[in-house]
């Protein structure tokens, strides 16, 4: 028994022990572990876990389904997955930029709503040509998100108001104020949501005919992927990025280095808010075409966990948000085919996040086991030499 334990320990150390790759191996390990846990839950419910997982991938258009409705195929499923992915990617980047600067932007949902609402009423209902309307939607969304973010940063810099509190307050204020305007002026009496925005302003080309397929072509995801690389460059290669990270690691050190900490905080929140604004327009004028009053999307909150799963690294976030969205988007199909409740998908998502939150402990455990194994083998060597 002890020998088996020893072997298992050795195996773990061998796979996860390489410090250089731990930033990748440990999250992957966490993901595998939670998929196993999820499979156990599905088994307990008396369903087939493999089938459930396959249907998750099928629902997101990564594997072919058995049959498709007219004008639908795996490709259309995949583009509609991409459509849902864009806001999550932007929102997670927004959280990450703030986190790297030592700030916690819990108000991404409110900033998304602000950007979505303002671009909807200014451009969404106007009769502008698509070539003008679409860029304007992006610019207005980015700017309004940026202004809200900068306001939160300014509150912190000028009045020492904790950014968590002010962004939660702004979340509520945005939610209620915009709900009032939607219900009073822009409501669609049937859906009880705001009226659908014009096709020209929509960032997703809905029901475009390609060959004999009808698909939703999201423009946002291209921009989101480019933005992820741009943020990576900004953080790693520019002076602004260096200043943001320095303020994030130690405000005192930053002050000694002659960095204007107050302005950097405002700047960090402005960038974070701008990204949240883009998340807002890709959500409310891309994925959805309308806004449901009095509801904040959960994207902004889930993005916190996604950003942390991706280690607040833009490239890591591309992968982590992809994974979380596959599970989220595929869950509807899973519940209809495999008969597993869609909530199980969120349970698996939170398990992935829980296990990856323990990454620090896994790292520590691996190091300790590695040391004790090395010590043991050294002792055995000594003993053998003593015997001689």
């Amino acid at each position: 028994m002890r020998k088996v334990m020893h072997k298992i320990k050795k195996g773990f150390v061998k796979v996860l022990g390489h410090e250089k790759y731990q930033s990748i191996t440990i999250p992957v390990f966490a993901i595998l572990l939670s998929l196993i846990f999820g499979a156990i839950i599905i088994l307990i419910l008396g369903k087939n876990p493999l089938e459930a997982y396959r249907s998750l991938l099928q629902g997101s258009g990564l594997l072919p389904k058995e049959s498709y409705a007219a004008h639908k195929s795996m490709l259309t499923d995949f583009t509609s997955f991409l459509n849902a992915w864009a806001p999550m990617l932007f929102a997670s980047l927004a959280v990450a930029v703030a986190l790297r600067s030592g700030l916690f932007n819990i108000g991404v949902s409110g900033q998304m709503l602000t950007a979505g609402f303002i671009s909807t009423i200014t451009i969404g209902y106007s009769a502008m040509a698509a070539g003008i309307a679409k860029p304007l939607v992006l610019i207005i969304g980015l700017t309004s998100g940026m202004l809200v973010g900068a306001l939160i940063g300014w509150f912190k810099y000028k009045f020492n108001i904790n950014e968590v509190v002010s962004s939660i307050m702004i979340n509520y204020i945005a939610q209620y104020v915009f709900s009032f305007f939607i219900n009073t002026y822009y409501v669609d009496p049937v859906s009880r949501q705001s009226k659908i925005v014009n096709k020209t302003a929509r960032l997703t080309l809905m029901d475009s005919v390609v060959g004999d397929l009808k698909m939703d072509l999201p423009l946002g995801i291209i921009l989101a992927l480019i933005t992820a690389f741009a943020i990576k460059l900004l953080l790693d290669k520019t002076r602004i990025g260096f200043e943001l990270k320095t303020v994030g690691s130690s405000q005192t050190a930053a002050r000694y280095a002659g960095i204007n900490v107050g302005m950097t905080i405002v700047l960090a929140m402005a960038i974070s808010g701008a990204l949240a604004g883009l998340a807002g327009v890709t959500n409310y004028l891309g994925y959805d075409g309308s806004i449901r009053p009095k509801v904040l999307t959960s994207t902004g909150f889930d993005a916190i966990a996604v950003a942390l799963l991706g280690n607040s690294n833009p490239i890591g976030i591309i992968f982590s948000s992809f994974l979380i969205m596959v599970i989220g988007k595929g869950s509807t199909y899973m519940s209809s085919t495999a008969g597993v409740e869609a909530e199980i998908a969120s349970v698996i998502t939170s398990l992935i996040l829980l296990f990856s939150a323990c990454g620090q402990y896994i790292k520590y455990w691996i190091k300790r086991t590695k040391d004790s194994l090395e010590e043991e083998s050294a002792r055995e060597m000594d003993k053998r030499e003593g015997d001689k």
């Binding site: 009045f159 020492n160 108001i161 939660i168 942390l308 939170s350 829980l354 939150a357 620090q360």
Partner: protein, 319 residues
């Protein structure tokens, strides 16, 4: 006019007791964004017990109510141990742990509610119907003009909350455990040097926050929503965090913040009804508590300071 006091208090007190839970956790040095999830899990456990025992007691019996309060506290405490385990033992990032617990709580309770409704009651539904709890009026004192309204039409949970809040205040500021707890949030190394187990103090503090949040969640379920469903997750947990940061991590100012939220909210509704405005205008007055908070913060938060070791993983070797 009375209605402002009555509704304001019944919203402010659950919010306050949840914020007190948050203060316990954060004063001991553990960031707790999980309040939202903890109150939901508490409400779920309590509501589950209430609907399970409902048939064993006569219609006007108060026993299911008290039982559900008890199980809400137990459920919240047990669930908070996940947060404690992750943050204290497994060295997880406390922010991610809190957010994840909220996601997990919401997914798990919605899922279980559906399963239980189908499996036990044979009816597909996504909520447990509770109804609004009975109210009582304390004789004599409620006759006093203006202030008397505080004693009119109170929910039984308001009294429970006040009793527990007084006890929580005593424990935090007057007992040796409370002193250790507060020291853990500012200088855990010193606490360790004095021979006290930092992990244990923090673990109990986080469990306290779970217990109090569970109680708060159940109170919301019995008053505002009159049932348990996923609509219990409307962000009151985050609001409680805002209240405690606003109250500078101290119990009395936090009570003030919660009362402000409560009264501003009920006064807003009162004005809308009194002036017979269309119901969509109630959204506009609903921003009152939040705008007021922001304005007050602008004037009063210059000297706010969070516990020094908040959010840091305790490392024995650190100096």
């Amino acid at each position: 006019m009375d209605v402002i006091f009555i509704d304001g208090l019944s919203f402010a007190l659950p919010l306050f007791i949840m914020a007190v839970g948050g203060i316990y956790s954060e004063k001991s040095g553990v960031t707790n964004l999980a309040l939202e999830g903890l109150q939901g899990v508490g409400a779920f456990c309590g509501a589950l017990v209430a609907v399970l025992v409902a048939n064993s007691f006569s219609g006007d019996s108060q026993i299911p109510f008290y039982l559900s309060m008890l199980f809400a506290i137990i459920g919240g405490t047990l669930f908070s141990m996940i947060h404690a385990l992750l943050c204290i033992k497994l060295k997880a990032n406390q922010v991610i742990s809190g957010v994840v617990i909220n996601i997990l709580a919401m997914a798990l309770t919605t899922f279980l509610t559906k399963q239980v409704n189908r499996g036990v009651f044979g009816a597909p539904s996504d909520k447990f119907v509770l109804g609004v709890s009975n109210r009582m009026t304390i004789p004599l004192v409620s006759e006093i003009p203006v202030i008397g309204a505080i004693f009119k039409n109170i929910y039984p949970f308001e009294i429970i909350i006040i009793v527990i809040a007084v006890f929580a205040w005593y424990l935090l500021y007057k007992s040796s455990y409370g002193m250790h707890l507060r020291a853990c949030g500012d200088n855990p190394q010193a606490v360790d040097a004095a021979g006290i187990n930092v992990f244990k103090v923090r673990f109990i503090a986080v469990m306290m926050s779970g217990a109090l949040s569970g109680l708060a969640g159940m109170s919301f379920a019995y008053s505002i929503s009159a049932n348990f469903s996923s609509s219990i997750y409307v962000g009151y947990g985050y609001l409680a965090i805002a209240a405690l940061v606003f109250g500078n991590w101290n119990i009395f100012p936090t009570l003030g913040a919660c009362l402000l939220f409560g009264f501003a909210k009920s006064a807003g509704y009162f004005i809308v009804q009194k002036l017979q405005m269309p119901s969509s205008y109630s959204d506009l007055v609903m921003i009152l508590p939040y705008v007021l908070t922001l304005l007050l913060l602008i004037f009063f938060s210059k000297h706010n300071r969070s516990p020094r070791a908040l959010g840091e993983i305790y490392d024995k070797g650190k100096r």
